[in-house]
Structures are given as C-alpha cells and as structure tokens.
C-alpha cells in the first residue's frame, strides 16, 4: 500500500474493485465502516455481489477482465469534465513531460512491437530529452506530444457506450461511480482505491493497477490522507515475502536478480543504477549501489570486499529474458527437465492453474521435500485419486512444520508495518520452523562441500550463513550493521553496531544489510521497533490516525508514501483538515516527509515521486512490458469475438506455456460460453491445505460450490443445491450449485453473458468436499509478473448425473 490500513478511515470516497475486502481482509472493514460513519461513500465494483457489497453503499457488477475498459472510461470522464487537480497534475506528475516521436499507438499496438518475439522495444517510448538528458516539459499541458495530450487521445475511445458494451455495466451505473469517485479531485477531498487479486490475476493485471494509478494521480489522491493505491496483501505474510523477495526476479529490497548479461559487480551496478541530470529529481535509486553492496556484504561477510566486487561473481545468474515463475517452472517439470526440489509454504497442486497438468508434472520428480502442518494435495500427490502410487517414482519427504503461533518473528502487513509476533507455545514433537529447517539444511550441505568438495563450492562455503536460526539476530542483520568503526553525522558507531537508517549504508564495504528498506527497524537507539506498541502521537498525527510509534514501517517509518505531493509548492497542506506533513518554522512536521528537502518554492526542494528517475508520478509509464498507457484487451479465454477498442483481441505480449495439456478455448467458443471467476473465502485460506483441517472452519464452508444466477440455473435446469459439472478446455470439476440473485446476467456486446464463481480451497485430501477448481483455469499470465489469469476463463456448466468428488 502507498498508505496504510487505518488511513482508510480518512477517505471521502472508497472504491473497492478487484477486491472482496470484507471477506478476505475482514479487519480492513473496520476502517471502511469508520470512513462510512463520517459520510464517505463506499462503492464495490465486482462480478459477484459479496459480503463486501452488502456493506457498501452500492454494488456494480461487471464482467471479469474488463476493468481497464471501466477505468479507461473514468479517465476519459475526468479529462472531458476537467475534474483533475490541475496544480497537482502539472507540478507532480509527468503529464507535462514531452514524449519522443518514436512513441505511437495504433489499433491496439504501441510502436516497437515485434510479433516474432511477441515483445516491445520500449526504447521507442522514451521522452524527448534536452541537451542534459532531462525530459523536455510543457507546463501548459498543450504540446501535442506532452503526456497529458497523448493520454487524452489514448482514452478518447473509452466512451460510455463502448465501455458499457464491453463491461456489461449500464451507462447509469458507470456514471454513478465516475461522478462519485471523481468528486475527490478537489484539493480537500480524498479517494482511496482498495484492490487485490481481482485486479492482479489477469493477463492485463499490471495495467489494471496502472489505470488506477493514472486516476489517482489525476485526482491528486496520492500522498494524501485517505488516498492512495492500496493493495490488500495476503495473509501468509505476502508483503514480507515480496520485501525479502521470494519471487525469482528480484533480490531483497526490490533490486533486480542478477542475470547472465551482468557478469561483474560493475556490470550490474552500471545497468541497474538510473541516472538523472535534473537537479530537482531526487532519483533515489541512484543510491542502489550502496544497498546492493551492503546486501552482498551481509550475504558473504568478510569474504566480500570492494576489490572482489563483494563476491558478486558467486551469485547464481538467471538467463536474461527467461521466466522462472510457477507457470514455467511446472512446465519444465512437465517436460522432465527438473529432478527435484523443495515445495514449502504452499499447496501448488491446488493453487496453480491447470491442476491436471501440474499434478502430472510433479510425478516426474525424483525427489521432493515438503513441509506442512497437514497432508495436502501436494505432499500426497503421489497417491491422488486415479493414480497408482507404485507408478510414481518420486520420493517425497514430509517434514513436520511448526505453526505460525509456534514461531516468533516479524510479519509485514499491507501497510508496510513490521509487526513482531511472539511464540505462543513450543512446536509439538519434531515440528520445526522453516528457519530451523533451512539453517539445518545449509549446515549439512556446507559440511558435505567441505568434506567432499564438488563443483564450485565457493558460493556455498563463502556465505556468511548462520549456524542456527534466531529471528531476533536475523532481524538485526536485516536492518544492517557496520563492518568497521564509522562516524555518521558526528556520531561514532563501533564495528558490529546497528545502522540507524539506510542513509548510513555505503558501497565501500563498511556496512552490511539484508534489506535496505528495513534499515532503521532495529537500531542501537530504538531496539527492535517491530515490537513497539505505543499509541503516542502529536495532535497533527492523531488527526489522521498515523500512529507512528506503533510498530515500524518501511521506509524509515514513513506511513504515507509520496507525501510531498500532499502539500503545495510552499509546503502548505492542500487539505489542512487532514494534513500529512507541513513545512513549519523551517522544518517538516507530521509524518516522515518523503525526503527532508525544503518545499519546492525555495528552489532547494525535490519532486515528490523520489523513487522514479525523473521524480514525477507516472501517468505515462514507459517501463512496463505492455505499454506506457493501459489498454483494454480481452482475457485470453473470452466469450466475445472482438475487442470494442481495437483490432487486437488479447494482450499482444501475454505469457503462456504450450504443452499438449495447455489447451485454450477459442474466442466466443459456443462450447464454453460462460465466464468463470475464482476466488478465496473468509473461512478458508488459499488452497485450503490448512483450513480444511480446522473442523469449525470446514463446518462453516464444507464443500465446493459454484455461485450462479437464477437465470442461468433456469436455462440449465439446475436447482439450488444440485450437483453440477463445470467444464473448461482443460478439465472438469464437480460442485454444488448455489443459485443466487447475487450473480447477475450481464449485457455484453448486445447479448446476455453469464458469469459464475467458485472458490478454490477444496481438495481431495479432505474427502467429499470437492477437488481442485484450478483444473479449469489456464496457464496464461501477465507479461510483467507472469501472474496467471485465474479470474477469467471460459467454461460450461451442466447438472451432474452422479457425483464422485462430493459427499451427498
């Protein structure tokens, strides 16, 4: 999140889209309701009327995968009616920057597209630069190639009729949402957008969020209290996991994973450190070498020196352009290219698309190490229904795992707050924490390398790896330590002491830190700040519920990101009633300012979006794989034959795999005319491996169901409570029909299209409850993140003659 949970109560208008917040983030609704108490409007735009919709002011159903059409229409509405916050847009966003002549857009394609590689040459989208390499600017926003004018042209196609026909949303409902939300374009009004996997799990996922980003920048809603782009992160410490980068393509602190084109430390630093010659742009990533070098020091300890590039050459490198995420990983496994591995903390045999394929793929492994609280569809894949265990060669190890309550450590919430969790009770019997397991593995592996040698032992042996797992000391190392006596701002720190903040990190080998973003979280002065529970705050902070002394958030305990955009050029809050920071008597008060420089008007300020090279909020975003502006493309499996906005039906750059088990239905395939969306539940988490084994949770949600409208049920002769078969090009799933008015038929492209929804938490290891919904979903993904399109595919449904997966 750019903001944080409590801040939601400061909003005047709340748009919940691509999220079912009340069901999947129940605590968040405390703050939504507090905003509502104070008169905020709460709108829920989502295919299904859910428990979130019940508590919103109104619900607007739309077809899965058409969010960009919807949001594009809102952008056009803002521009046509001049509802944007002009000063904010001109001063703080890149709306005034002039784009080079290489940029163009025609018929669904941006310039630079290569159909052979299915990718764009993004250099075509660059800005027009002056002699210093700084983008030219027209603050009148009139230049035909300034971002503002290009944006107007781009979204001019998103008129009400085309948007309505695409999304299935009535013109009346479109205007209702647009009017309500865009009223927050005024300087004293703030609107927040709450989103989650309903937006990300599409082949246009990132562009969904980009669309919202454009809207929030136009309305001046970024950096202010009650505003923001607020991603609701997952329960399993997803925020913490992405910060410490369990994802393959990044290393801790959101830096790029080294690839084979960067063979040396210098290569990496050169390629990854952005340069800006604009003195007004902070270009904060210019400090990347300090964070990178400190990370390497933390990994390799004394072995890492400036002379040897901090042991950079010992790091594994991925092949440039290759994709190692789940979709490709399981495809390689299917092609017998992977011998073995560790699957831990997830249940992919239930939660990855095209389950029939991935379950088969897992059979190809020689060995598999898993760790769980319970047997799951993954640990027991080798004895799944229909498979003779004797035919599966995989040797599976199931290590008993400690439960979260049996471990201590920090968990990072969606608001970037690090919260310490204490151990309630010791793990039972031989169950261990993952930390204990991994330090145990590494200890043995290193011993073997020492004793037996092997191919390239250095990357393993030269690691400064802990012998045992201790969460407190790990958190201290994550914060960072000085590797020699150092003076910072007149204060002397001894070798081994904790760094006070990432501003103390260097690239000369004097500091180590496992994650620059977390520097400042565990310090000599403040101790383990994740444990702080003080409600102390100044009146200004109290006014917006900032709670700066409760826990600690990254970066540097700044609660609202980009908050320099919440004040005018003189440092005065745009909305004094809900001020975030203010320049008073020569200093900033309130939240930690997003850069301590004085206000812009002094001439010594910096543009507020310090993490982007040019310093502006990116309305035009040339860094994405699929274009600098968002564009509606149909989901890969779509019930319609054409795209109302261009000739390009699907994203021209979406990712996919293509084994013989990766079948896709054709657009408007009459065999699969119904749109399926899949989702979580309050009562079950993700693939259900843990929660199906908690009796009172299973009691509340006992079996796989499919929510469908009475109209669709009537067409198919299905009654509420009947067993049904849901089928896609990839597989079939048994479910119980939940016939409900909460699913509405949609009028799309002039005809009725039905949408149905299913949870994905039920699996065969809990007999009679159903099995993987993901047998239906396709292995197609977003070009930036490879996140699969779980939220939209095409199916058919019929009444079942008999049921084998569900108890009756």
């Amino acid at each position: 999140m750019t903001n944080h949970w409590i801040d939601i109560k400061n909003a005047d208008s709340i748009l919940i889209m691509g999220s079912n917040a009340a069901e999947h983030h129940p605590i968040s609704f405390k703050w939504v309701l507090q905003a509502k108490d104070k008169g905020a409007t709460v709108m829920h735009v989502d295919p299904k009327f859910s428990r979130t919709s019940a508590r919103s002011d109104f619900h607007v159903p739309l077809r899965s995968g058409t969010d960009i059409a919807f949001l594009g229409g809102m952008i056009k509405y803002i521009l046509d009616n001049e509802l944007f916050f002009k000063e904010y847009v001109t001063e703080y966003t890149n709306a005034s920057l002039i784009v080079g002549e290489g940029y163009g857009f025609k018929d669904g394609l941006f310039t630079g597209y290569d159909p052979k590689t299915r990718s764009y040459d993004k250099s075509r989208w660059g800005f027009e630069l002056d002699g210093n390499g700084v983008p030219k600017r027209d603050k009148s926003l009139q230049h035909p190639r300034c971002v503002h004018q290009l944006m107007k042209k781009h979204y001019s196609r998103y008129g009400i009729d085309a948007v309505s026909a695409t999304t299935g949303v009535s013109a009346e409902n479109l205007l209702k949402v647009y009017k309500t939300f865009t009223a927050t374009g005024k300087r004293d009004k703030a609107g927040t957008i709450m989103y989650a996997l309903g937006w990300t799990q599409h082949t246009v996922g990132v562009q969904n969020i980009r669309s919202a980003g454009i809207i929030q920048l136009l309305l001046g809603n970024i950096g202010v209290a009650g505003g923001g782009i607020n991603a609701l992160r997952g329960e399993p410490n997803v925020q913490g996991s992405t910060d410490h980068t369990l994802l393959y393509h990044i290393i801790p602190g959101y830096m790029a994973m080294p690839n084979n084109e960067w063979q040396t430390y210098d290569d990496y630093v050169k390629a990854n450190t952005p340069v800006s010659n604009d003195p007004m742009s902070a270009n904060w990533w210019k400090n990347k070498p300090k964070y990178f070098a400190s990370l390497l020091k933390a990994w390799f300890g004394e072995n890492a020196t400036p002379e040897n590039g901090f042991c950079y050459e010992y790091l594994p490198k991925i092949e440039k352009g290759e994709d190692y995420s789940y979709m490709y990983l399981f495809d390689r496994m299917y092609e017998k290219k992977i011998r073995g591995g560790i699957i831990i903390g997830l249940n992919p045999m239930n939660s990855v698309p095209n389950s029939n394929k991935v379950r088969k793929a897992l059979d190809n492994l020689d060995w598999l190490v898993t760790s769980e609280l319970h047997h799951s569809e993954t640990t027991d894949n080798w004895q799944r229904p229909g498979v003779d265990p004797k035919s599966v060669k995989t040797e599976v190890f199931l290590l008993p795992s400690a439960h979260r309550l049996e471990k201590e450590g920090s968990v990072t919430n969606s608001g970037r707050w690090l919260l310490w969790h204490y151990k309630a009770i010791e793990p039972a019997f031989e169950a261990r924490s993952f930390g204990d397991m991994f330090t145990g593995f590494m200890k043995r592996v290193r011993e073997l390398y020492r004793e037996e040698g092997g191919t390239l032992p250095e990357p393993v042996l030269k690691l400064d790896y802990p012998e045992t797992y201790d969460p407190e000391s790990l958190c201290a190392l994550i914060n960072g330590r000085f590797t020699r006596d150092t003076v910072v701002k007149g204060k002397t720190y001894r070798k081994g002491q904790l760094v006070p903040s990432f501003t103390a990190l260097t690239d000369d080998g004097s500091t180590s830190s496992l994650n620059w973003l977390y520097a400042g979280s565990y310090t000599e002065e403040g101790g383990n700040k994740a444990k702080r529970r003080s409600t102390k705050q100044t009146p200004m902070q109290k006014n917006i519920g900032l709670f700066p002394n409760w826990a600690w958030c990254w970066p540097v305990n700044r609660r609202i990101l980009y908050n320099r955009a919440s004040v005018d050029l003189n440092g005065k809050p745009y909305n004094p009633e809900k001020a975030v920071i203010e320049w008073k008597n020569g200093k900033w008060v309130g939240d930690v300012p997003d850069g301590g420089w004085p206000p812009m008007a002094t001439g010594k300020g910096r543009y507020p979006f310090i993490m982007s090279k040019h310093g502006f909020g990116q309305i035009y975003g040339p860094g994405r794989q699929d274009g600098p502006f968002s564009e509606h493309y149909e989901p890969v499996e779509t019930p319609v034959a054409r795209n109302m906005f261009s000739q390009q039906l699907n994203s021209p750059v979406y990712k996919f795999v293509s084994s013989e088990m990766d079948k896709l239905s054709a657009p408007a395939d009459p065999n699969f005319p119904i749109v399926l969306t899949t989702y979580s539940l309050t009562e079950h988490w993700c693939g259900g491996g843990e929660t199906r084994n908690i009796p009172n949770l299973l009691e509340a949600e006992p079996q796989l169901y499919v929510e469908m409208s009475p109209e669709l049920a009537g067409e198919k002769g299905i009654a509420n409570g009947d067993g049904v078969i849901v089928e896609s090009a990839r597989g079939r799933v048994e479910a119980i029909a939940m016939v409900t008015v909460r699913m509405r038929p949609l009028r799309v492209h002039g005809r009725i299209i039905h949408e149905i929804g299913m949870p994905f938490c039920f699996g065969w290891t809990t007999p009679g409850t159903g099995d993987a919904t993901n047998r239906l979903t396709p292995s197609v993904g977003d070009p930036n993140t490879t996140i699969p399109e779980y939220k939209a595919c095409c199916v058919n449904v019929r009444k079942a003659d008999r049921l084998t997966e569900l108890a009756t």
């Binding site: 609704f29 009172n696 509340a700 169901y705 409570g721 509405r744 108890a807």
Partner: protein, 244 residues
C-alpha cells in the same frame, strides 16, 4: 447491573468470527455439514447443541437492488425469560438467571428433562433458541460467556468482532448506544429498528424489515396470529407433574 449486547447489523460482514470464536472458547465439536441440497453460506443450517451462535444469511432482490442481510443469531438473554418460566414448572434449577450479569443459563439439571419436556421449553422461546444434546440430554445455548464476564473479559463473540457489530456493556449504556446508532442510521435506512429492546439483553439493530433477516428475529414474528401477549399467556397452562 445486568449486561447487554448491542448487535448492529449495519456493520456485520458475516465473517463468522463470532460463530467460530464461540465454538473455540466453549470447545464445541464441529458438525458434519454439506452444500448438497442446501446451497447456502449459512452453515450449519441452524443453531444446535454444538453451535450457540449462528450467522444467518438472507438475500432478496428489491427491484434491481440486491439485499443480503446477515443475522448473527444467539440467545437473547431475555429480561423475563419464558424458557425459565416453563422449565421452572418441570425441573426447578434447569434454567437459572445470574442477576449480576443478566445471563440466562441452562444447567446440568436440564438433563432431567425428557425430550418432550424440552420441546415445551423450546416452544416457549419466541426466538426458537433452546437446543438439546441428543446423547446427554443437556440443554444448550449461548451462555453470555458468563464466566468470562465475571473475570472482567468480554464475551468471545464480542472480542473477536472486527467491525464493531458486536458491542457489550452495561445495559443502560447499550440502550443509549442503540438509540444513538438507530438515530444515525434512520437517514439512510428508514426501515431501521431495534428488535424488542426492552424485553431482551441482546438488542439487534436491524436496517431492514425483520422478515428480511430471519423468521424469529423479533418476537412478534412467531408463526400464527397470536400476539406476544397471547403467546406469554400460554405459559400459564395447567401445571404438569414432574416425572419421577
């Protein structure tokens, strides 16, 4: 000073926190439940010996507008509990009232009631709350977490509720809060009402008509043309001899 609950359904998101926290606190076992032939999020389907608290779901289309009402049902801990009046005539002490907290409690003595006796007690309740463990004969329902209250804690369902739907405190304070909340909600919800606030210690604040929540959300909603007065009059039927 009796305690009261205010259950503000305008804030309920049917998360089932209350339903499940209650079971976890009382260590009640799970029932086998199903969607087959049922097709609803309401599970278990009804209150039972293992579920003292049940979130009831009720949906309907109001023109083009979908309404989905949630009713986190539980014993009302009536000011003058009809279940106690009935039980006193059969087995004294099977149902007692803690005058300090207002909690109406089924005791171990309730096992002495036959199944037929129990049905009398159950029918006496305008909200259809009393249930019975088939094996032991023990009558069961919400206990107001009486032992927690005596230890200065809140009832489990109140503690766990994330949205402020479940409120708990001194009866006077809860009645004041109820009136204030009702006032603020009337603007958007003209149908808003409090359910039998002066007869019960568990006061539901409804924003839709009672029928759109649950048959037994208010006492006047009991089947048949009887008024509440008439219903209570049935309690003065001839005394039935206690079985040996």
């Amino acid at each position: 000073m009796p305690k009261s609950f205010l259950i503000d359904t305008s804030r309920c998101t049917a998360c089932r926190g209350c339903q499940i926290a209650c079971k976890e606190w009382h260590e009640l076992p799970a029932n086998k439940t199903t969607q087959y032939g049922w097709g609803s999020h309401q599970n278990p389907q009804d209150l039972n010996a293992n579920n003292y608290k049940l979130v009831r779901f009720s949906e309907h289309l109001d023109g083009d507008v979908i309404r989905w009402n949630f009713f986190p049902d539980q014993c009302r801990h009536c000011v003058e509990p009809p279940c106690k009046d009935m039980a006193d005539m059969i087995v004294e002490g099977a149902v007692v009232r803690d005058d300090k907290t207002g909690a109406v409690l089924f005791t171990e003595a309730s096992v002495k009631l036959s199944e037929a006796d129990f049905e009398e007690v159950r029918m006496a309740c305008p909200y259809d709350i009393p249930r019975r463990n088939e094996n032991s004969g023990l009558m069961s329902k919400c206990t107001m977490c009486n032992e927690r209250i005596h230890s200065g804690l809140q009832p489990a369902c109140v503690k766990v509720c994330p949205t402020g739907t479940m409120q708990f405190g001194e009866r006077e304070d809860m009645l004041k809060l109820a009136e204030a909340r009702l006032e603020s909600l009337k603007k958007d919800w003209p149908e808003a009402m409090l359910a039998d606030p002066y007869d019960v210690n568990v006061i539901y604040l409804l924003i839709d008509t009672p029928e759109n929540y649950h048959e037994r959300s208010v006492a006047a909603n009991t089947a048949g043309p009887m008024s509440k007065k008439q219903f209570f009059a049935t309690l003065t039927r001839p005394f039935r001899a206690m079985k040996a």
